[in-house]
Amino acid sequence: MRIAAFDEGKIGVVAGDETVVDITDLVEDFEPLGPDDVLPDLITHFGQLEPELERRAAAGGGVPLGEARLQSPLTRPSKIICLMGNYREGTDRPLQILDLFFKSPEAIAGPGGTVVLPPHQAAIFHHEGEIAVVIGREAKDLSPEEAMDAVFGYVAFNDISARGLGREGINSFLGKSFDTFALFGPWIVTKDEIPDPQTLHVTVDVNGERRQDYSTSDMERPIPELLTYISSVTTLRPGDVICCGTNHQGLGSVQDGDVVTTSVSGIGSFDVTVQDEHERAWARGVDREAGARVIAAAQHPVAGAAGGSGA
């Protein structure tokens, strides 16, 4: 099932005939505390709601997708957790130490939204297309076997990143937490529709030019392992978002006027535009230097991890 937000705060199910059927009234029964709680409430009560959602979607009467103004289904998740470099990127390096950072949950922008570049003197602003997992229930200390039970669904995500800000040698990742830097959409696809999330295709296009193009089969640590580890650190909640990292081979700049299309096969695709009131310009196309730098910097192997040449 595809769960979407559209037309200023309505919640809908995207039906097979590519219309979106309004089901806002069903979630309102749970009396969400505020607009940010509507989707988490739907996720929490999804088991109970599912038959009626199916029935409504089958009954039709929805708005054609082309006429609906889609928005990000989650407006402010309780956490956005991002994996640091979690793809092999064509190397045969040993398994890297798992590391992550938290991205501001205030940063969400959705389909048709605008990435606003701040006046900060960043070296460049990059796109990072990713697959993200939406958590379905409160979870702590998940075993590998039960990890996928905690998943509600998946979205396409773009982790917009300002480079070169902050204190040297620390990498605070704060340059990823500007408002509007967490692109989330086009809807949440429930996990039953994605039999294998490790064989999906992630692409990012800028003004129609292909930049990123990779498979989730290249992930160093697959989703169940990520969930097991992260839930050993922090309690996960319905609507928490876990971004699985990007393949940096294909990163490029985003700048004023750009249309950025983020797409994951089996999930969907959405566009945002970029606005920079300073109209700064960077080289267009793929930033190969950035890709090479990431591979060179990947020198944090897990003790005893088997690898290839270790280049």
Partner: protein, 291 residues
């Protein structure tokens, strides 16, 4: 005013050694738990201040009940990287901050549980905490920024070292129970100078950290201006101002940790380590020298 949240989700104002229940000022604000109640209460506090004070003055004082953290689950938990000169005369470092898991917060009398992860050591970091009171973006780096605050509190940024890839690990500071916070939110009118507060932390009665907020590299208004240039701040967000690393030490099973900020409050928690690991006691001089 000192605002507290009881374990049964009531809002109180501290008076003498006790508390007056002022929940009545917020009865129309729907909530499910104390965790989602407090950000909404803080958002409404400025306009309802008169009513809250009325209730605090006229209500009966009860013995101080068991408390939760004044914000049990902040919308955002933000921490400043090393923000004290620590006796050096160095140039100010580039300002920087990061986000921690907001699910790491516990309250007064809580228990820090050391996880079964191979950290090299678990440190305490006593810090002045800022609690946001209204939605704010692009605050000025002067006294006007203080208007964005609901108030101040005490926090311990418990830190597992030796985790992750680069620099101070976000994972190591984000374990559940790793951010004791409280006991109260002290409104800015009760804190005439936030840059002149003594911060102390002792473990089992032995003094470890003892420093003053006058040594901060970037003061409270500069912290608020910096972070609000990145992200919209929301009521209930908590910002940790950084610690002075001269005086850090190990936390281990059975420890009793007491921290205090002059004029703000006293916060005590205990430590539980199911693995019963041991580290040298006392101040970690090696860590202090690294800063």
């Amino acid at each position: 005013m000192r605002l507290v949240l009881t374990r049964d989700d009531r809002i109180g104002v501290a008076r003498g050694g006790g508390m007056v229940d002022v929940s009545g000022a917020f009865d129309d604000i729907r909530y499910r738990t104390g965790a989602d109640r407090m950000p909404r209460v803080l958002a409404a506090l400025a306009e309802r201040r008169g009513r809250v004070e009325e209730l605090a003055a006229s209500g009966a004082t009860e013995l101080m009940p068991a408390l939760q953290a004044p914000v049990p689950r902040p919308p955002k938990l933000i921490a400043a990287f090393g923000n004290y000169r620590e006796g050096s005369d160095r140039e100010r470092q580039t300002q920087d901050m990061f986000l921690e898991s907001p699910d790491s917060v516990i309250g007064p009398g809580g228990t820090v549980v050391l996880p079964n992860h191979p950290a090299t050591i678990f440190h305490h970091e006593a810090e002045l905490a800022l609690v946001i009171g209204r939605r704010s973006k692009d605050l000025p780096a002067d006294e006007r920024a203080i208007a964005a605050l609901a108030g101040y509190s005490c926090a311990i940024d418990v830190s597992a070292r030796g985790m992750g890839r680069i620099g101070p690990s976000r994972i190591g500071k984000s374990f559940d129970t790793f951010t004791p916070l409280g006991p109260a939110i002290v409104t800015p009118d009760e804190v005439p100078d936030a840059q002149n507060l003594r911060v102390t932390l002792s473990v089992n009665g032995e003094m470890r950290q003892d420093y003053t907020t006058s040594d901060m590299e970037y003061g409270v208004p500069e912290i608020l201006a910096f972070i609000s240039a990145y992200m919209t701040l929301a009521p209930g967000d908590v910002i940790l101002c950084g610690t002075n690393h001269q005086g850090l030490g190990a936390l281990q099973d059975g420890d009793r940790v007491e921290m205090s900020i002059e004029g703000i409050g006293d916060l005590a928690v205990s430590v539980n380590d199911p693995q019963r690991r041991e580290w040298p006691r006392g101040i970690d001089a090696e860590m202090a020298a690294r800063q």
